[in-house]
C-alpha cells in the first residue's frame, strides 16, 4: 500500500514558535505537496516540489517555507506561528501527470 506518513497528528503551539511538519512517502514519488484545509475553503496549496531541493510556491505560501533534502521527505516550516495558521495540514505525493495524489492523514495544528 502507498503510504504517506505525517509525523504529528495533533500539535498545539504558541504564537511566535517555529513549527516543523514532517511528511514521508514510501512510493518513490517525484512530486510532493503541502495543502491546508479549512472549513468552507477546501484544500489550498501552500508549496509543492517536483524534485529534490526544488520547491515552488502554491496559492498561499506567505508565512510558510519548505524543505526537500531527500526524495521521500518534504517538510513544512512555519517560521513564526500565528493564530491564523491554525488549520489542518495535509501532505500529498504523486508520481506524474494527471491527478492521482496520495494524502497523509493530516496534521491538525492549533496556534494559541
Amino acid at each position: 500500500d502507498v503510504k504517506v506518513t505525517q509525523s504529528s497528528r495533533y500539535l498545539v503551539k504558541r504564537t511566535g514558535e517555529k513549527v516543523f511538519l514532517e511528511c514521508v512517502q514510501d512510493m518513490d514519488h517525484e512530486n510532493m505537496f503541502w495543502y491546508r484545509q479549512d472549513p468552507g475553503l477546501g484544500l489550498r496549496l501552500i508549496y509543492f516540489s517536483y524534485d529534490v531541493k526544488m520547491k515552488e510556491k502554491g496559492d498561499i505560501p506567505e508565512g510558510y517555507s519548505v524543505s526537500r533534502e531527500k526524495k521521500e521527505r518534504f517538510s513544512l516550516i512555519l517560521e513564526s506561528a500565528s493564530t491564523n495558521q491554525t488549520s489542518m495540514y495535509l501532505c500529498a505525493s504523486g508520481s506524474g501527470l494527471g491527478g492521482e495524489l496520495f494524502f497523509g492523514e493530516g496534521s491538525r495544528l492549533t496556534v494559541l
Binding site: 477546501g42 495535509l90 501527470l97 491527478g99 492521482e100
Partner: protein, 111 residues
Amino acid sequence: QKEVEQDPGPLSVPEGAIVSLNCTYSNSAFQYFMWYRQYSRKGPELLMYTYSSGNKEDGRFTAQVDKSSKYISLFIRDSQPSDSATYLCATTIQGAQKLVFGQGTRLTINP
C-alpha cells in the same frame, strides 16, 4: 471567482437514495477531473478519475464531465451509511499534477 465551485452542503439523505454531487469550474484548459472522498479525521483518497468529457462508472459510483458547460458531477446509487464523508472535486490542466480543489461537500447517509 474561485476556479472550482462546489456547494459545501451539508447534504443529508436516507439510505438507498441516489446522491448527486456537483461542481462547476471556470478554466476551459482543465482536462483531468477527479473526485476524492475524505472520511472524518482522514486524508482524502481518490475515488474517481476522468479525462476530458464523458462518463465513467465504477460500481455504485458514476462520474460525469460536461466540458461545454464546465460541469462535473458524481452520482452515488443505492447510497450506504458508509458513503458518509466529505466529497471533493478536483481538476488540473494537461501535463500538470497541481490540482485545484472544490470546497468539498459533506454528505451524510441516514440508516
